[in-house]
Subunit: 310 residues, 2 copies
């Protein structure tokens, strides 16, 4: 079982309009609503690949109830931790003329007591009463505005103490906190790494996280592929060439591929190839949280890692 914590789940709403124009009243032609947050995308990809997952979701209000129902309808196992306030909504407005516009709510104010319940849910999934042995813990996505970045620490330390692989797909101070706590893998993209560490050079940023305590730093580079930094070694895999489509959720699919491969004992090179293949296979699907299964396995056999000394 792979446990996925989504600290700040969302209702992802897409509005299709005829033409986006500021300052006007626009009739929404089509409304699409789906449960979102990076961790839920990771869990959905793993679930579709036949992996047993368990999601931990702090949820509040009517929007939270909607997410809980939608997650259940997708067949995903989950523990819901009730929080005060309304789970955030993101609204993405699209037309056929220009780029989408995205409005992101900050999310609810989650009190310390609710975070303790998240800790308890993670601990339960690591313990002897869990329905299946937990082999990996994924922490993925933003924290609600105002949350202490150190809320992630007990999740990392409990899992590490239980001998479970921890992949921290976080950003900002919570990424640093996960590294400090000894996460097995930190997996920022290049921009998140630079922003969290304040170091513009990728290798410098990765070394910062490694020296804090991360076991490996995997950096997704979009069209420039993906790299795994250890203290004495960098492994790089190029992106799958010639793939076009919807990049939303590609990073989450890459995280799913990475954790799936590592949890099955793959070496770093194979894990990176799996991440790159899953990311590219997500681009072929119109929505986040899904990958083109056949394409993923075709891409996987075509990719070749390059190992270079640091």
């Amino acid at each position: 079982m792979i446990v996925v914590v989504t600290p700040n789940p969302a209702v992802d709403v897409t509005y299709r309009v005829d033409e986006q124009r500021v300052g006007t009243t626009q009739r929404v032609r089509n409304v699409d609503r789906r449960p979102g947050g990076k961790g839920l995308n990771v869990a959905r990809v793993l679930h579709a690949e036949g992996v047993r997952t368990h999601s931990v979701l702090p949820l509040g209000g009517a929007a939270g109830a909607w997410v809980a129902d939608a997650v259940a309808a997708l067949g995903l196992d989950a523990t819901t931790v009730p929080v005060p306030g309304e789970t955030r909504t993101t609204v993405t407005v699209v037309d056929d003329l220009t780029h989408p516009t995205m409005f992101g709510e900050p999310g609810p104010s989650v009190p310390p007591g609710s975070w303790s319940h998240v800790d308890g849910a993670v601990r339960a999934a690591l313990g002897p009463t869990a329905p299946d042995e937990t082999v990996a813990l994924v922490l993925s996505g933003s924290l609600p505005v105002g949350a202490e970045p150190t809320v992630v620490v007990p999740w990392v330390t409990d899992a590490v103490a239980a001998g479970v692989l921890v992949v921290a797909d976080l950003s900002g101070p919570s990424l640093l906190a996960a590294a400090d706590a000894g996460a097995t893998v930190c997996k920022p993209n290049r921009e998140e790494l630079a922003e969290a560490t304040g170091l513009p050079d990728e290798r410098d940023g990765a070394l910062d996280l490694l020296r804090r305590g991360a076991g490996l730093v995997v950096v997704s580079r979009g069209a420039d592929g993906i790299a795994a930094h250890a203290l004495d070694d960098v492994v790089e895999v190029p992106a799958v060439p010639g793939v076009t489509g919807n990049p939303t959720g590609a990073g989450d699919a890459a995280t799913a591929g990475l954790v799936l491969a590592l949890s099955r004992g793959a070496d770093t090179a194979l894990a990176l190839r799996t991440a790159a293949a899953f990311g590219a296979a997500a681009v072929l699907r119109p929505v986040a949280g899904e990958i083109d299964h056949d394409a993923a396995h075709r891409f996987l056999s075509a990719l070749d890692p390059t190992r270079s000394p640091a």
Copy 2:
């Protein structure tokens, strides 16, 4: 008791952003959520004026549950009619730089069986088992996309048969259907009247509704005041001069003032003055569904009607 039917309630969400720009990702600085739909604004204004109201609300999904909770929290009596799908949301994006942008969802698809339950709720409010004598029925706002405009007919005919004043604050074909069914008052604004009747001249449009069966046609004209058309008579009241602020919901407040005055036996001139005063007093409040009580009563004493032959 005044019964208010809101055929298409909404969650009205306002997002404050730093600067509206198409094609970008925007952090929402502040989220405001309130129960909306024109009928709910009317009910809130009446309730704040000490009038007993009963709202009839077709509601669906998590958004519908949110509206039901919010209406209860406001202390409004209501009958909720469950409908399939999600009650609509409107998202208004504001900044300090330009005009708001409003995105309006179409609303759920309400099947005939649900409309029968709305009919039943209206009929119950008109009957001997109602908690208080119903003196007026207000029908206010849009119908969900795809609803037959004639769904309003039984509400009008049942209320008229029970001797209850019916104010139809509707638009498009449902306004015509309410007139056909003999609504005591049709209350479109000038643009809605022209659009529904296809007649650009206000008097021509009003005569169309009167000949269909409306008892009186009250036309709100924004800054140009408000007029009541009968077959042989037009009464006009100017707008309250020099009032600036937020015009959202001013028309709904005017409807509340109109129905309140008429239900208390006011003549047409006093009812129009009350409508104009309530509309202006709503402009002084930052949100729809509220009026400045003291200002409304100050404005009321200052307004002077002008009666002219048709």
